[in-house]
């Protein structure tokens, strides 16, 4: 009897032509783009290893990957929150420039670190709050609201200073210069901060009421509201988080480059968006993972490293990232089209 049922079940599976792989794909369709990003990252590593004859996957290179991309990683985490709600935040690059130079200026003027760093973070969060309020209460499109944030951040950065300011504060430079070593591997406090941000964000998005509200808004804002979720509050919070992350990125960038510079981060928002999309987050919102965004950042960073190793022109970087972005969007588009067709 049991055998018969099993046989019947088997024939049914055969009739529908679904292998376990296909079942898995259809159940976890939302994860597929992120898996694709992991696959691309592995392929990039293998490709780099072959091309450089075993000189690519070294502890030094991998450690440097985190060090060099800590800033982008933090930005991508904030951007993931906003994109999950179905919005977009164009302001992060200039907010980062503003908070970075503000921090450098304050430290240069002798403001203690204990005041300067919270001021940087709050400055970023305040611009995020402004964008969030425009989006939520005045019904402004996220694109335009964050465009105002972009202009504001860039202009404020130049108001703080028109030229670069060197940072000589030990505490801030410590973030970058300290190397916690384990054999050939190392990690800097900036790297630890970036990874902690990812961990906290993943926890918040998956295990708290607020995080689930963010996903619900991206899935269908109207339904989320009718379910009684606090949509307005969560949406504004997403922009505040993105602004806060931009502020944190400003601090990391100041530590990384040892100076604040008002021209920093022009176009970085596009890199962050590209990394988030490559990491498998859908721009329509509701689907995606912070960990995917982390993979996206590493894909971006690895391409950059490989191009540097090859000694190719930087212009290829832009072209390759653009093409990768296109590839991922088309894949996402196909996935969305499939799930819509099923519905």
């Amino acid at each position: 009897m049991a055998a018969m049922t099993m046989a019947r079940a088997e024939t049914r599976t055969k009739e529908r032509g679904e292998s376990p792989v296909q079942t898995f794909i259809s159940r976890h369709g939302g994860m597929m783009p992120s898996f694709a990003a992991v696959l691309i990252l592995i392929l990039l590593f293998i490709g780099g290893e072959i091309f450089l004859r075993g000189d690519f996957i070294t502890p030094r290179n991998i450690s440097a990957l985190l060090l060099d991309n800590a800033v982008l990683l933090v930005l991508a985490v904030g951007m993931t929150f906003v994109i999950l709600t179905g919005g977009i935040d164009l302001s992060v690059g200039s907010v980062m420039a503003f908070t970075g130079i503000l921090g450098a200026k304050m430290l240069g003027d002798g403001v203690p670190v204990g005041i300067a760093i919270p001021a940087i973070l709050l400055g970023g969060a305040a611009i995020g709050l402004l964008i969030g309020i425009l989006v939520q209460y005045f019904g402004v499109q996220p694109f335009i609201a964050s465009l105002a944030g972009l202009f504001l951040g860039r202009g404020l950065a130049y108001i703080v200073s028109l030229s670069s300011i060197k940072v000589e504060n030990d505490a801030v430079l410590w973030l970058q210069s300290t190397r916690i070593r384990l054999g050939d591997w190392y990690i800097t406090p900036t790297g630890i901060i970036a990874l902690t941000t990812v961990a906290v964000a993943a926890f918040v998005l998956h295990l708290t009421r607020f995080g689930r509200t963010i996903y619900a808004i991206g899935g269908n804002e109207q339904s989320a509201r009718l379910m009684g979720l606090k949509v307005g509050r969560a949406k504004i919070a997403a922009y505040v988080i993105s602004g806060f992350c931009a502020g944190l990125a400003g601090l990391l960038l100041t530590a990384y480059s040892g100076a604040g510079y008002p021209r920093n981060g022009i176009g970085t928002e596009l890199d962050a968006i590209a990394a988030v999309v490559i990491g498998g987050t859908l721009l329509t919102g509701g689907r995606g993972y912070v960990l995917g965004s982390m993979v996206g950042v590493f894909v971006y960073g690895t391409i950059k490293t490989i191009i540097n190793f090859m000694g190719a022109e930087q212009s290829w970087m832009q072209i390759i990232v653009g093409s990768l972005l296109l590839l991922f969007i088309v894949v996402q588009r196909a996935i969305v089209a499939r799930s819509e067709g099923r519905r």
Binding site: F143, I144, G149, F151, S315, Q318, I319, L325, L326
Partner: protein, 346 residues
């Protein structure tokens, strides 16, 4: 009177006139226009001349936004167009030849048209969100421009090419005339044929208009091609102005200013109804504001703060929440005064 007040160009024009009046009061030479060797000069004329690239880009953006799209790649397209034109002129034996410059310009505009067609293909055929579809080219386009120029800033010394940005024709700057021709052609095509209405239909509801027999795919595709082509011409003007192709600096942020101009002109980013005249006014507001800010002695690098304030004010004024709030307030005031009257009667 209320008709004028309610007209959707009323506020943009008031804003522009206010800016001009404030400038004229602060520095009377602002409105002075002098004639020298049969060519007009003056701050107002330079505003017209300098606004040409933004005008072209914003006109293209208007059409794209009317189809409920957006084109972020215009700045990169400008860079590519300038790079193509200058590389051809630089590589030729006779950079001063009018024929060479003409060929270079035509090739550059054709390349931009192809870039626009690529965007249109991604949006209308593949069905990718416009922001992202054009983001691809925005990222990759500058890389392409850098490849064309070989990573250098190509400079040329070509009389006919310099004419595009700094030449005069019929006493007016040639660059302004290019913008004027674009405005006239676009207005005629969009408003004297059914194309404008069809574009609005596509923007309001692509699915419904397709079912009604509108070829929405071709219309959307065409919009991006127009935008690409106009951005290409803008790139030529920009390159001609600095007599160089700077792949990194050409058209940076111009997509944002163009979108701002369109929004200032009263065209909704949600697609549908669009106003070419509004965009023209929007562009002039931005350019006058830029000139005002410079006059105030603010570094041009700091001017984005002013634009941020302008954007915030404009979007808040346009938002329905504020209008509803004001309407509710005036109703309450009116009912209260009516109540007062009643008390008096009693």
């Amino acid at each position: 009177m209320t008709a004028i007040y309610k007209h959707r160009l009323f506020w943009p024009i008031v804003a522009l006139l206010t800016l001009i009046v404030v400038n004229a009061v602060a520095r009377p030479q602002f409105i002075k226009i002098t004639m020298r060797d049969g060519e007009l000069y003056g701050p107002l004329i330079s505003i017209l001349r300098e606004s040409a690239p933004l005008m072209l880009v914003a006109l293209g953006m208007t059409i794209v936004i009317a189809t409920r799209g957006i084109d972020l790649s215009v700045g990169a397209t400008m860079a590519v167009s300038g790079a193509v034109a200058l590389t051809i002129i630089d590589g030729s034996d006779d950079p001063g030849n009018v024929g060479t410059v003409l060929i270079a310009c035509v090739v550059a505009v054709l390349v931009s048209l192809v870039l626009g067609a690529w965007n249109g293909f991604l949006v209308s055929v593949v069905g990718i969100q416009p922001i992202i579809a054009t983001l691809v080219l925005m990222l990759a386009g500058r890389g392409v421009a850098l490849l064309i120029t070989g990573g250098f800033i190509t400079t040329v010394n070509s009389e006919p090419f310099a004419f595009i940005a700094s030449g005069y024709l019929f006493a007016l700057p040639f660059a302004f005339l290019i913008g004027l021709v674009a405005i006239i052609v676009l207005s005629l095509v969009e408003r004297r044929t059914a194309l404008g209405v069809l574009t609005e239909a596509v923007g309001i509801n692509p699915e419904a208009s397709r079912l009604a027999g509108v070829r929405s795919r071709s219309i959307i595709w065409g919009a991006y091609m127009v935008s690409g082509m106009l951005a290409g011409i803008a790139g030529l003007i920009y390159a001609s102005n600095i007599k160089a192709a700077d792949a990194n600096a050409a058209g940076v942020f111009i997509e944002l200013y163009a979108i701002l101009a369109v929004v200032l002109g009263g065209t909704s980013l949600n697609g549908g109804k669009f106003s070419i005249a509004g965009t023209v006014v929007g562009v002039l507001i931005i350019q006058t504001l830029e000139s005002t800010i410079l006059f105030l002695g603010v570094s041009s690098a700091q001017s984005p703060v002013f634009f941020a304030v302008v954007v915030v004010i404009v979007v808040i004024v346009q938002s329905s929440r504020l209008r509803d709030g004001l309407a509710a307030l005036s109703t309450r005031l009116r009912s209260r005064s009516e109540a007062d009257e009643k008390v008096e009667v009693a």
